[in-house]
Every structure is written in structure tokens, then in C-alpha cells.
Symmetry: C2
Subunit: 347 residues, 2 copies
Amino acid sequence: MIIDCHGHYTTAPPAHTSWREEQQAAFAAGTRPPAYPSISDDAIRESVEASQVRLMAERGIDRTIFSPRASAMGHHVGDQSVSQRWTEVSNDLVARVVELHPERFTGVCQLPQSPGAPIADSVPELRRCVEQLGFVGCNLNPDPSGGHWTSPPLTDRSWYPLYEAMVELDVPAMVHVSAVTNPNFHATGSHYLNADTTAFMQFLQADLFRDFPTLRFVIPHGGGAVPYHWGRFRGLADMLGRPAVEESLLGNVFFDTCVYHQPGVDLLLDVVGTDNVLFGSEMVGAVRGIDPRTGHHFDDTRRYVEAHGLSPEDLQKVYEGNARRVYPRLDALLRQDRSPRAEGVPA
Amino acid sequence: MIIDCHGHYTTAPPAHTSWREEQQAAFAAGTRPPAYPSISDDAIRESVEASQVRLMAERGIDRTIFSPRASAMGHHVGDQSVSQRWTEVSNDLVARVVELHPERFTGVCQLPQSPGAPIADSVPELRRCVEQLGFVGCNLNPDPSGGHWTSPPLTDRSWYPLYEAMVELDVPAMVHVSAVTNPNFHATGSHYLNADTTAFMQFLQADLFRDFPTLRFVIPHGGGAVPYHWGRFRGLADMLGRPAVEESLLGNVFFDTCVYHQPGVDLLLDVVGTDNVLFGSEMVGAVRGIDPRTGHHFDDTRRYVEAHGLSPEDLQKVYEGNARRVYPRLDALLRQDRSPRAEGVPA
């Protein structure tokens, strides 16, 4: 089967998005936001069936690990209670998508981060999503300030309460920033990639995985600049007196295939190796158009992976095995699921 | 001939570096810094002959475009007058290296940037370095705050006074940040690469090169994450209603080859093409060790370029032609120079 580890609910119903605007306006005005709207099952079905579900079928993607829209997390907006409420309704909406299409989607949650707020305050929502909603992981924002980078590095002990819960629940985090207010950065054009590179270097510099040997992170967007500069990171580890990256990081850090051209995916698979790459497309996401050079969607990353010519064993790892290993709760779900698709029959 | 477009004076004599410490201490104490020390020609010769000059000879590099140490620019340190004085003495020291080895080095200057200071205040030092010291370009720091990104994007009109001078003098800028004080970032492991990616996306979003059709930038470190994510940038240009990157940017934006493994250099040359890549190594710089996989220095980038198998015409562009085109004042210097090496006889 083919699991896409990186999908966001970018097509949420307008009522959800409008409520967010009202919530922000209420915060600005110092008033209470209106009640969250009632959204029908049909509205939710419509929101994914013509886009994600259709494209998954067209591209032969069996299942997407699905989370709230990353750019809309907006942890910098309002205050901690604004983030808390927005996070809850966003995760609940993802849970409803999963409920309506349990064979297609598995949930990953947003966390109610807020600049300066202790990460421990995000743990209850993580528990709720994993234990009550059946989610299999979370998205962790290393920069809830929205491009001002005011939090400590991800390896700082202040993040440890979350990592303790992640280890206990056996769920990974995708490192994923959100929208930016710093005009230097474009969210999907530089901020996302910079955060990916930044997180990897933070992991390289510290002993986080000595403290948490089973903690796992997915660095999206093909790892930012990391695989392209693999020699630089190997050389920096050496210069800084750190262990080799293969040894110290590749048991805990994984990359997705959200790299939107053939040479990039080729480099990723060749350099990082098939044990640490999870298939992902971020469809429908940052780059939605059709590449005039190929006639196919930029984000149809399956084409690039297929064209790379991996062995069937390696292809299985990238498409399914690594995702089941990194997200053990997804693996458990699939083992319970008796449908033919879950048993590995090709779509 | 082979021109390395990216070398910094990372081996400056200790007296220079010590004076910088005294300058900072004096600023902190509110006193005047001591007089800048006298540094002998021998001390300068020694500082480069056992390192850059020896390695250039070993690697067959004929000439290095040489600038003050990037991580030491420290535009965030002290105030504008501290930056001004440090910049002057750092540029003067590079000029002395060039004077002692005119056949080996050509100067590029640091600018006396300071957070919040108008960029127009950097123009006199650019003029001095180009017109009096014979320098052929400058390093422009898009984030003089040292990792807090408090300046406007490079496409903002507040930067235009510098661009007007660059165009008039016909010199390019390498986009190069310096040390960081933000603990999220490691200077050479993430901040440099992030700045490269950030600058490219800023250029993509705006019409800077419509305003300055002859303005030229070199984005170092192989363009950060850009070539690896070339499809992403092409797709984003399309989504944002911007012209194709090949059309709008590649007349003005160039990348160096400071990518420290074979697959990265291969991707760079294949994806960006040989008209927009300048040979560079940043030797002696960020990554100084020997790659145990190859037995050669990580930063011996000539090996990767050679192994790529370009045609002689394309190799000439990457080694020499593009540098002479992007740095016309270097081209003019080489035309004046009657030495056999400058005439293209292999080293």
C-alpha cells in the first residue's frame, strides 16, 4: 500500500475558516468569539472528495496522514486561549474527515502552542487527539512566533514535557512551522524550508536522542536544504566533535518526499537512503499547479519516486514500511483493518 | 584558468582578531578602542601561505575572490561606528593580502552595515574599496541583526541606494550573513543556508531586476535549498503569478559550488545550468575536515565539478567565464595582467 505521510486539510469548509476570522476579530475587540458553527457531514465530504480523495485515487495513494492546514495553525495569533480553541476545533474537524473516510485518512494533530507558553500546556491536547480521536502523531512548530524565532531550540529541555508524552504515547512529530509575519520570509517558499534545515542542525548539535532514544521526528519538504548539503552536515558533525549523523540522527529523524522535481527526489533517495524517507506529497498544498515541462502536477511526487527505479523492497519501505515504523499507531490501525487495501493489495 | 569566487580571510593574523575583541570590550566599557595594531607583511604572508595559497596550488585554483571572514563581520556587534571601523580595518587587511599576492587574490569588501542603519551609509566604504583598493564586489548581509531578521527584505526600496552604487560601479554582491546570536541557528549549519534560500525567494516575489536590470547577486553555498527544491520554486512562481524563474531571475542571480558532496554538485549543475554557476569552495571555511568516504577535503569542490563530466566549454564557464561576466572588474584586471596564468595556461 502507499501511505502519504504529509497531507493537510487545506480545503476545510468555509464555515471553519470564517469562524477563525471571527475568533481573531473577537480577540482584537476584546469580546467573546461566536459559537463554532455546525458543519454538516456533506460539507466535509464535499471538501475532500473533489480534491484530496479524487487525487489520491488518481495517483494511487491509499492513505494520507492528515492534519490541520499548517499555514493556518497561526500559533502567533491572539493568545494561548485563542490557540487552544482554534487547535481543538481544527483537530476535531480532521477527526470528522477521518471518521467519514476511515480507509483514506488517519489523523495527526496540531498543538495549541503559543509564543512563550510552556509546551506542557500542549500535552493534554496531544493526549486527547491520540487517546480519544485515534490520531497517530502531531505537528510540532519550532517557531510559534511566526518567523521571529523567539523560542529556544527544539533540543532545549523546555520542550522535554512534550517529548516525554510523545515517547509514552509512541507517536512522532512532524516538525512544521506555520504562517509568517516576518516580511523577510515567504511561508512555503522559505520559512518552511528554513525551519526544516534549522531543526536538523539543532538535532545534530545536541544529545536529544540520547535522552529520548525512541523519540522520532519527520522533517518535511525533503528535509529542507539538508540532503542537498549532506556533505556539509557530515563535515560539520566532524568539525564540532559530534558523532556521525548516520549514527546519531538517522534512528530518530526521517524525511518526506515533498520535493517537486525529479532531480531533488533522486538526490534525496540516493543520499539519505530508503530507510529514512517516507513517501509524502503535501497534496493539496503549497504548490498546486501543473509543471509545463512534464504535464503533471508538481506535487505528484509518486511519479518521481517511481521513476527513481528503487527495488521493490526499497519502494515498499518508502511507500509503507517506514511510515508504519515511524507511526506505530498507524501500523496498529492497519493491522486491525481487514479491508483488502490494508492487507497490501495494490490499489 | 580556475577562479574561486568564494574565499574569506578566515586565517587573519591574531593581532587583527585580538583588536576586534579589544574594540568590543571598549564599546561595552564606553571607552575608546586602542589603536589598530601594526601587522607586518610577513605576518600576512604567513597567514595565507600555509593555508589558502598552498591549498589553491594543490587543487589547481588560480585565483580566489577574497573577502573578510564572513562570520566575523558581526554587523550586530556594537553600533554603526563600531561596524564602520571594523569593516575598514578588515577590508584594508584583505587589500594587503591582494597586494602581496596580486596573482592569487582579488578583493571583495565587507560593508559597514548595522541593524537599523541606512544602507546609504555603506556606500562610501563600497566606493573606497572599489575605487581605491581595486576590489571587484561586496558581501551584502540581508540580516545584520545576527539571526533575528529585523531588516526589510532585500527587495525593499530602502536597499536601493546600495544597488544604485553597485550598478554604477558595475560590481555584484554576494548575499552573505554573518554570525548569529539567535540560539535557534548555527551560523554555518543553518543560518547561512536559510539566508540563501530566503534571499532567492525574496527576489522571486518582487520586481527588483525590473528596476535594476544589470544588478547581480551571487547566492553562495550552492543557493541554500533552492536548486534541490527547484520544482517548488518554479511551481511557486506559477502560483504567485510571477514570471518563470529562468526568465525573471537567472539574468541576475548566480550560485556558487560550495556544496560539499558529489550528488549536491551534480544536482546544482544539472538543474541550474552552467550559465548561472560560479566555481567556489569557501576554502578555508565552514567545513575543513577530510571526508572519510573519499579521503579528500569536504571543501575540495573542484573534484566534484571535475567528476560531473561537463564539456570543456561548460567547464570553462563555471571555472572562469561566469566569474568574469559577473565580476567585470575582475575581468578587466585579468585583461591587464600579462602573466601566463592569466592568459589561461593551466596551473
